[in-house]
């Protein structure tokens, strides 16, 4: 039932470009771009119980890396793909360093949030002060507050006309990556690895006593989530061909928390749906020209925390499933009379 619905949605999304205009596809791509960061945070926060406030640091690092590398190497050959790989390796390296520093250094609970938030603010502040011409890497200017722009799209040399990933083809690429990441994460959380993560979330000391290397698991899950945040960063940079320091700031850092909390942080599917829905909602509000988008996001987060702490979708599903079970369990009049007899 779930898998046929999943297949139908993916298929519908894949053939969608034949029915709607380019503008709608560009928008849809934009919503999907954020899903990777949200899924990563769901894994880190929902499954492993580590609240990272600073996933946007990895997002920004990957975006800037793609900008610097691709502007320097140009779009010839497979260099843009090389830039893509480098942009995923950079957040991986940062996550290993930061994660080792935190988890092997006994940083726990709220302090993980403080360290990660501090790192993303350091990045934002640092990038914001790179306006001068001395902040140039090769031929790429970092450009301070205004951010970098005009990086080349992903390109495959293909005879006379190279294959350029933009518009519909970029949408397909993002969709394919999204499906792969979602399925991969589902396999991961349902495996032994996922069970250990939940055990650590519920009680790290007990998991340690049972012989699991808690710190290694925490480091691994943090690295996976952060590379996914980086993936969002690269795709975002490719999507709009720009990246700015404010994509890492306090407000930007709050958004992934909101999506993940709103859907249900302990459920990948709920996170995915909430991310697409809420980015769509923010955009709708912004397009209408009013400034209420952030107020709505804040209000949704507040309502969820107060009334549906497990997340909106998860709470609704539990209610529905409970009702269905109750209906099945309800004895029909016939059987009731036969048992009483």
């Amino acid at each position: 039932m779930f898998w046929s619905a999943f297949g139908t949605i993916v298929l519908a999304a894949a053939v969608l470009p034949m029915f709607v205009n380019d503008f709608a596809i560009t928008n849809l791509t934009y919503f999907l771009v954020w899903v990777f960061m949200a899924l990563g945070l769901s894994l880190i926060w929902g499954y492993a119980g580590i609240l990272s406030f600073g996933q946007t640091a990895f997002f920004g690092l990957a975006g800037y890396t793609y900008g610097v590398v691709s502007i320097n190497l140009g779009e010839g050959g497979l260099w843009t793909w090389f830039a893509l790989v480098v942009s995923l390796v950079m957040p991986l390296v940062l996550a290993v360093i930061v994660g080792y520093f935190m988890f092997y250094g006994g940083v726990r609970d709220v302090f993980v949030g403080i360290v990660t938030l501090s790192i993303t603010l350091v990045f934002e502040t640092f990038m914001a002060q790179t306006a001068g011409p001395e902040w140039t890497i090769g031929s790429a200017r970092l450009n301070g507050f205004n951010g970098m722009s005009n990086m080349p799209p992903l390109t495959i040399p293909w005879g006379e006309t190279p294959l350029v990933f933009d518009g519909t083809s970029f949408f397909w690429l993002v969709l394919a990556m999204g499906v792969l990441v979602y399925l991969g994460l589902r396999i991961l959380v349902n495996s032994r690895f996922g069970n250990v993560l939940v055990a650590i979330r519920e009680n790290p000391d007990r998991a340690e006593m049972l012989g699991y290397n808690v710190r290694m698991y925490q480091l691994l899950v943090f690295v996976i989530g952060s590379v996914l945040a980086g993936m969002s960063g690269v795709l975002y940079t490719l999507w709009g061909s720009y990246i700015t320091p404010s994509s890492m700031g306090l407000t930007a850092a709050a958004l992934p928390i909101i999506w993940v909390a709103a859907g249900g942080r302990k459920d990948l599917t709920a996170t995915l749906l909430a991310t697409v829905l809420l980015t769509w909602l923010s955009q709708q509000l912004a397009v209408k020209g009013n400034q209420y988008a952030l107020i709505w996001m804040g209000a949704i987060l507040l309502v969820v925390v107060l009334f549906a702490p497990e997340g909106l979708f998860v709470t609704v599903w539990k209610k529905l499933r409970g009702r269905m079970r109750a209906r099945q369990a309800e004895p029909s009049p016939k059987t009731a009379s036969s048992t009483s007899a």
Binding site: L51, F101, M102, G105, G106, V107, R108, D109, V110, F111, G113, I114, V115, S118, I119, L121, V122, T125, F126, A128, Q129, G249, L250, T251, A254, I257, I258, A261, Q291, Y292, A293, L294, I295, M297, G298, A299, L301, L302, V305, L306, P309
Partner: protein
């Protein structure tokens, strides 16, 4: 002479930064120390204090009363929010932090819609004095004294008054305090209100020196939480030394490399402190004393 002027300029910069960090940190530190909640809407309470001060002062209220109005307004908002929201989340630490983040987003954007991108500010009182080639603001030179007297007043509040004794008992062991008859939930809400009022006072004190904008909270929140994390949970013990250390680092870096590098220096310091002294300066001092 020029050396003396240079030295005074550095001292002024240091004291200015010290006052800023103490005033920023106070409200946040009290809430953090009492409940372990990092109030991410702290900056917006400061913004609230600043706005009320500017608006009432421009409506004709003398500045000291306008500042009082700003302080009380922020405190009142704090009490209301505690009653409506924070109270329900005390046993869920992460959720309470996330909820204050939501409040911060709502308040910043709401103020932008209600009051526009900025409001006309106030004139800084008392003028300035000259020393060598530099000119210093008298008002800002007085702020470190205000910060120190506030610390003294809070020391008195926590050590000498009934509220102080009850609240220290609650920090020490909330269940035991409740068993002995302390109304801990009232103490929590009073503490939250006090923290919010102190944030409002900070906004009120800085209102004449800066333009009030809806996003001004963000400029304060980073400094505040840096100070509080380095200080640790015990405000009385940790806040002043933490602000002194951070002000030294910040004024040194700002003087040599500019304001943004000063900010980065603060953030890097906090990352290292979390790793080396997870309970901050006050936790370290208490641990050392317990060891002897």
């Amino acid at each position: 002479m020029t050396f003396l002027v240079q030295a005074y300029a550095f001292l002024y910069q240091f004291a200015d930064s010290f006052a800023f960090l103490v005033l920023c940190g106070l409200g946040l530190a009290i809430i953090f120390g009492m409940m372990g909640v990092i109030n991410l809407a702290h900056g917006e309470f400061i913004m609230c204090g600043a706005y009320v001060t500017v608006l009432t002062a421009r409506a004709g209220l003398p500045l000291p009363f306008a500042m009082l109005a700003g302080t009380l307004a922020a405190g009142l908002v704090g009490l209301i929010l505690e009653f409506l929201i924070i109270r329900r989340l005390y046993h869920r630490l992460f959720d309470s932090i996330v909820a204050t983040w939501a409040l911060s987003l709502i308040a910043t954007q709401g103020m932008l819609i209600v009051a526009g991108p900025s409001i006309e500010g106030l004139k800084t009182p008392f003028g300035s004095f000259e020393l060598g080639e530099y000119s210093f603001s008298v008002y800002r030179a007085l702020l470190p004294l205000v910060a120190l007297s506030l610390l003294a007043a809070l020391y008195w509040l926590f050590v000498r008054t009934r509220f102080g004794r009850y609240s220290r008992a609650t920090i020490e062991d909330a269940d035991m305090a409740r068993a002995l008859g302390a109304n801990t939930s009232r103490i929590y809400s009073q503490t939250f209100g006090l923290g919010a009022a102190l944030a409002g006072l900070t906004g009120a004190l800085y209102a004449p020196t800066m333009t009030a904008v809806p996003t001004m909270g963000q400029a304060f929140i980073v400094q505040s939480f840096v100070t509080v994390v380095v200080s640790g949970a015990d405000v009385m013990l940790g806040l002043a030394p933490s602000a002194a250390v951070l002000a030294f680092i910040q004024s040194l870096l700002t003087k040599s490399y500019g304001q943004l590098i000063g900010q980065i220096g603060l953030l890097l310091t906090v990352i290292i402190v979390v790793r080396v002294l997870p309970k901050g300066i006050s936790g370290w001092v208490l641990q050392r004393n317990a060891g002897h």
